[in-house]
Symmetry: C4
Subunit: 375 residues, 4 copies
Amino acid sequence: MLMQKGTKGASLDMPTGSTFKERLAELAAHPRLERPLVLVGIAVMVVGTLPEMSATYALVLTGSCLSIAAAFAILYAVRIWSSEHRAMAARSPAAIVDLLAAAPIPLALAVGASAADARLLGILWALKLIRQNPAFALVLRVLRSERQPLLSVATAFLVITLFASTLAYLAERQAQPEAFSSIPAALWWTVTTITTTGYGDKTPISFFGRVVGGSVMIAGIGLFALWAGILASSFSAELKRRDFLESWDVVVRLPLFRGLGSAALAEIARLLKVENFAPDTPIVRAGQPGDSMYFIAEGEVAVVVGDQRIPLKAGQFFGEAALIASAPRNATVVAAGRARLLRLDVVEFRDLASRLPELLAIIHSEDSRRKPGED
Amino acid sequence: MLMQKGTKGASLDMPTGSTFKERLAELAAHPRLERPLVLVGIAVMVVGTLPEMSATYALVLTGSCLSIAAAFAILYAVRIWSSEHRAMAARSPAAIVDLLAAAPIPLALAVGASAADARLLGILWALKLIRQNPAFALVLRVLRSERQPLLSVATAFLVITLFASTLAYLAERQAQPEAFSSIPAALWWTVTTITTTGYGDKTPISFFGRVVGGSVMIAGIGLFALWAGILASSFSAELKRRDFLESWDVVVRLPLFRGLGSAALAEIARLLKVENFAPDTPIVRAGQPGDSMYFIAEGEVAVVVGDQRIPLKAGQFFGEAALIASAPRNATVVAAGRARLLRLDVVEFRDLASRLPELLAIIHSEDSRRKPGED
Amino acid sequence: MLMQKGTKGASLDMPTGSTFKERLAELAAHPRLERPLVLVGIAVMVVGTLPEMSATYALVLTGSCLSIAAAFAILYAVRIWSSEHRAMAARSPAAIVDLLAAAPIPLALAVGASAADARLLGILWALKLIRQNPAFALVLRVLRSERQPLLSVATAFLVITLFASTLAYLAERQAQPEAFSSIPAALWWTVTTITTTGYGDKTPISFFGRVVGGSVMIAGIGLFALWAGILASSFSAELKRRDFLESWDVVVRLPLFRGLGSAALAEIARLLKVENFAPDTPIVRAGQPGDSMYFIAEGEVAVVVGDQRIPLKAGQFFGEAALIASAPRNATVVAAGRARLLRLDVVEFRDLASRLPELLAIIHSEDSRRKPGED
Amino acid sequence: MLMQKGTKGASLDMPTGSTFKERLAELAAHPRLERPLVLVGIAVMVVGTLPEMSATYALVLTGSCLSIAAAFAILYAVRIWSSEHRAMAARSPAAIVDLLAAAPIPLALAVGASAADARLLGILWALKLIRQNPAFALVLRVLRSERQPLLSVATAFLVITLFASTLAYLAERQAQPEAFSSIPAALWWTVTTITTTGYGDKTPISFFGRVVGGSVMIAGIGLFALWAGILASSFSAELKRRDFLESWDVVVRLPLFRGLGSAALAEIARLLKVENFAPDTPIVRAGQPGDSMYFIAEGEVAVVVGDQRIPLKAGQFFGEAALIASAPRNATVVAAGRARLLRLDVVEFRDLASRLPELLAIIHSEDSRRKPGED
């Protein structure tokens, strides 16, 4: 009852659209198309600010930037057109990023900005790099779940910075009336010091100013350590969560585990790790030490013994022989097409005996059904 | 017997005072009133040190600072007056912070300090930012519980700094008699180096001095990593403790869990996470993937299906359908007023089957009592 | 059978020596005697390098340093004389630190060094600060248990530094033949850069040199993060180990827990935390929220209700009422003399119901024997 | 059935080759031979770039470098010749590192490079330091398993750097047309700032530029903390995995544990820690507090009681008396030859009573078979 079809992660990134519109939508959303455009675009924009480039190739540079903006405009239009709910799609955060990539440069030229200044708006293309990033959501989750202690440290940062600036201003205003002319001037020194950047454009010279400086440096290191500590402990929980969810989606759809209760399934999902392989990638190599076995979730793999290629299909598994006998792998296994596998590490495999005798039983019953020498 | 009324966290920050005095006390203590005053006050103080501002707007600046000090004096008086034990309230740390915000500026002017100098005392307002910070206690707990290893690293810091200063003084006093004229002078260089601030106002030029310098930098990174390591491992424990206590306070008061023993309650408190929602905030959105279900602890929420708004009251729950079927949410749920919910994440939900069959039984029995399509 | 008398931690730092020799040995070993001497001595030594001090107060400074060295010589002699195995004591690491504190300054003067140079040897007194540090052993344990991965990162550090120095030398030797005249010269730049110290005394100016520089900075941050990560995960284990050992030593000697098996004792030792209190320190305060209960391991405490002081002896406990009823403390409890208590945090207390019904049973049976209103 | 012979870690690094070819192969692969060569070679190469050295000792330097390259060529040839599969061995990553250590310097001289430039290729010897490093695989595993979130933070790093460079260019191009002449010029400033290196060769002077600068510094610290946090949480898991695997390999081969099921074996492998001792190293010392017991996995140890040396062989254990009675060690134990032991820490020993009564039973039955006073 808990193991109905999961929708997430089922597609292996292969085009699944059946109509022209669906295929077009997939194409327009694919990072392989956008990422090179973004990187080339930003490179052109950055290089275009070099005075010698700007002077000689002004037309080429502006033309390139306009072309890239146009390409993003087309992608944006295709996405809106091919989505089911067009009004909703047009207002999504993704669409706003698309719009910011397409519109600003032509608009700036239209309202009379210089070509050199208009090209600078190409920096907005960088926003697309963030949107495409799969693990970005994980980082955001961590920051959100610990925002209270993180903000607390940030407040301490602010208060220490304000106090230190005031004290440094008091200590140094006699000796260096230029460098520490006011608290705002001292703030710049405090920020470069508390972050341990230390430009050295302003340094305290009085005894009391140096005591303030040393204290600020040590406080900066302490605050930073607090930040790192908060993030480290939270990341640990989120990484486990992500792995479990990914694995659960696959485990519940494997016929192999159909007979197990949801308690055993949750245990298995915790132990297995999802791994994707491109076609013809070796998964295990003959002769290497074996530290994991694999269950095939999707796609097909081939066991290479000499010249023979024995195919294994979704639902089957391999690599258990090396784990049971602690011997090196006796065959190479390659992905026949794109394949999604569940990896069971040797540590967890040995752990199983006590925690999940059901899984061991499944492996042994399957093993006895198969011919020897296959693994 | 373990689940009597909790007092902490029960009020949702809504005014609960029944008499005028109580309401006034609440108002005077509210951060929404104080925080803007503090921020404006500090901004005025900081800007007022700019020579051009100080010269032109001296009267306005001093007037503003005095007004803010006066406002804090009034808040302080109200708080003392409205508290039950006035003598105790007047000596509490909070009252001392209040006093430091109100008294120093007028006092300084009274004893004849210049207006510009008196305004600098406004920096004391920053102390209020720390007092208002809810997670500050958490940070302090971590620092206190690990003070022994933290001090141990601090001692290593001190010893290394002293040795390095002596060695740098020996190495550089011939070559740079100005910059490294004494150990105190070398200390300044060592501190800027061991914290990796590196102003560059003094740098070693002899071979031996540079060996000392490089060693100090690497030692600094190592000490800092030790600090971060100690804090990280301790934060992990404290964050779990905080979540458990917060959740326990709410769980024991939910009628839904009344039949469970305290072992099961402790388990549930570990699994659930308290979340507060402002009125009309969406909690789940139709069409989005569902990764958690919610129990209503306080307040009311509304399930929006088409034009209908079905109310759910404290003690009820929602969102379990998406978890059980791994389907997207079939309805949007918004907070009707201020609402305190307990979130059960999908990972913990799947974990339940093995660890807490009682909770699943409660969910299923409630589910069968309700009409379908509500979630 | 596992709970025979522990020797460690039993003494509460009170003088236990019965003979004059033993008491003298304790006195000579006490940090309260040595630490001020060390700090004063180092302060004199540091200040004595200031040219103006050195010129005016040469005799006073040298005299002070010699006096402190003499004091350490006396302490050293007392320690050797009062120890049972004098030959062994004289060769222990502690004795070598003692000797390094006493001998070098007079020796240096004897062989004809200038007084100013001889005083510099006072830096060796700083070694005593490390020896006195109780948590230093913990830090050393962590460093030792993870020395392999730490060294591995250090090797990466070395290899990256060497490659970067060679590349920076190649990139910059044309443009800045002075600053990057050789690989050793480039090494200094690389070390200040990879540790992100960044003095700025040498900076790359060629395009390729800056690419090397940027890569080195990012590599430096990565290596440092690796270091912090290794230390953080190891510290977590060591801190738990230390708390368990400390608590176990006390738990096995409490008559209250005599009937429990060693499994339950191990569980209790994991839950309780040892805390020491100086005489007359308040342990809990009436009216404050109660987040822990206490078992008295050694010494005596007094419950203050109004004017009455009800004494509680070792083996008794208090504070459980506030935990059970979630109410504020109804009495203040102070340490009557030096007291060693075991603290049971509210989180662990609630956890108990499921894991250690025996402990709850002990608390309840004791509670019913006592009169109400005591807590 | 899960406890067949493990191959890894069985040899204690003692020469096991029986034929001349095998012994030669072992010799050629031994780090004790290569490491000094590498370190001397790199030292010669580095020192050789000092102008005064290069001028005076050109021939000696080039000769040394050629000799070292020749030595590596011989080692490379021996390794290929002595390996079973010569074609495979010649293409392995190790062989490529060998080749890069042997060939480049003579090749460079052959194609006409100057001797000074050819010697610089000696930096490639540093690659060998990485290959020899045993814990390097652990670091790589951590980096690989968390590459997604690490890359995610790196992308954020890139995007922030690009935005900050553009903004700094806009803010400062009027005031400092030299330092911030283009975005590539501003990029150098941003990278030195976001990594908190802060050379100070370029610093913002406008108000807006300083706001950008401060934000970049704080973002840099945050990104770095994220990195450290990701690595810390992942290291924890990998370190546990490594210890378990190492211990498992030894535990399954101990006759003492033969009767136990694989669940108990996995539990024991988690509790024990492998430690290697060189001949005649003391393992425990009489009179010291005992915080662990030892099982002998390989080699022999000797219990020293007075003048007697009682030998203990593989499969036996010692040190349990100190753990059971919490008394100091009553005998010194030294490794008779090279010995591999399994250490059981006191914390885990006390934990055992509840989790693994079988192991305690084994210890007690062995104990009663032995004579008293041996430990």
